[in-house]
């Protein structure tokens, strides 16, 4: 029996954000924007969706007098990501 792929993660930008955050302790919004080549507006919307799902934590603070947003994956996010990758691998194995 196959598990359904998590709809929150099964979209290009949100998956890219989660893949970046799973590999680092934390990352600034500008770093994620740079690596994903996304627009600030689109990225903000997707980051917000991930935050609402409880997959990431968003920390807003000031750095050298400028607002700075930092994102960090949560334990719920790690679990969801692992399940998503396992499900993907299952689908691909059957396809082979």
């Amino acid at each position: 029996m196959f598990k359904d792929l998590d709809p929150i993660l099964h979209s290009q930008l949100r998956l890219a954000v989660m893949s970046l955050l799973i590999s680092v302790k934390q990352a600034e919004f500008t770093f994620i924007k740079e690596k994903t080549n996304a627009t600030a507006g689109n990225l903000s919307v997707q980051v917000q969706k991930l935050k609402e799902a409880g997959y990431i934590e968003v920390i807003k603070e000031f750095k050298d007098n400028y607002p700075n947003t930092t994102c960090k994956i949560t334990s719920k996010g790690i679990k969801a990501f692992e399940e998503y990758v396992n499900a993907l691998q299952q689908y691909l194995q059957v396809k082979k």
């Binding site: 792929l5 099964h10 979209s11 290009q12 930008l13 949100r14 998956l15 890219a16 893949s19 970046l20 955050l21 799973i22 590999s23 680092v24 302790k25 934390q26 990352a27 600034e28 500008t30 770093f31 740079e34 690596k35 994903t36 080549n37 996304a38 689109n42 997707q46 750095k63 050298d64 990758v85 993907l88 691998q89 689908y91 691909l92 396809k95």
Partner: protein, 193 residues
């Protein structure tokens, strides 16, 4: 990057690419290693000549390291602030070198009981170990080889319990901090124009 649904293969490719991108992130100007390396080199050479009577210093030259330590901590904090992402590798290396500095301070307590040159031997061992672990974590072969050589120098230093040991320390400073510092500096300048 747009908001679209992916095929399963595309999803896996994207995950791999992003993980590779994130793990490749690196921000290190090399200034911190250079400041520390040149300070150790200077203090070791001055102490050597002081012990030989070639120069006379009003205090032990290694006391210069006290303000240097604060300068280096300031540089490190500033560099950490400039990092756009904190990787697990960064964190592990930070812990290794924090442990190194705490161990060096603990070893320096030996000066209160006139432990002598053996303290430098202990510092050489600690330097070799920290360099080796850093190289292993960062997958930087130079540091792995340097760490092993430094441990070898530390073992040899048991047989050189006189002022010459400071020259060993000076040599170690060149290979462990100054050369990697210059390499990092050149790489950083290339990356940041």
């Amino acid at each position: 990057m747009q908001e679209k649904e992916l095929s399963n293969e595309e999803s896996l490719k994207l995950i791999n690419r992003m993980i590779y991108e994130a793990k490749g992130y690196f921000y290190e100007s090399g200034v911190s290693a250079l400041v520390y390396g040149f300070s150790i080199l200077l203090c070791a050479v001055l102490t050597y000549f002081d012990n030989k009577g070639a120069i006379h210093f009003p205090f032990a030259p290694f006391y210069i390291m006290v303000p240097i330590f604060f300068v280096q901590a300031f540089i490190q904090i500033k560099e950490n602030k400039r990092k756009k992402a904190k990787t697990f590798t960064d964190e592990a290396i930070d812990f290794v070198w924090t442990g190194f500095f705490l161990s060096v301070f603990a070893a320096l307590c030996g000066t209160f009981v006139n432990a002598g040159y053996i303290i430098i031997t202990i510092i050489l061992f600690l330097t070799g170990l920290a360099t080796f672990i850093t190289g292993a974590i960062a997958k930087f072969t130079y540091s792995i080889v340097c760490g092993i050589l430094c441990l070898l120098v530390a073992a040899i230093s048991f047989f050189i319990q006189n002022s010459t040991i400071y020259l060993l320390l000076a040599g170690v400073a060149v290979f462990v901090w100054i050369i990697p510092g210059l390499l990092l500096r050149a790489y950083f300048r290339k990356q940041h124009g």
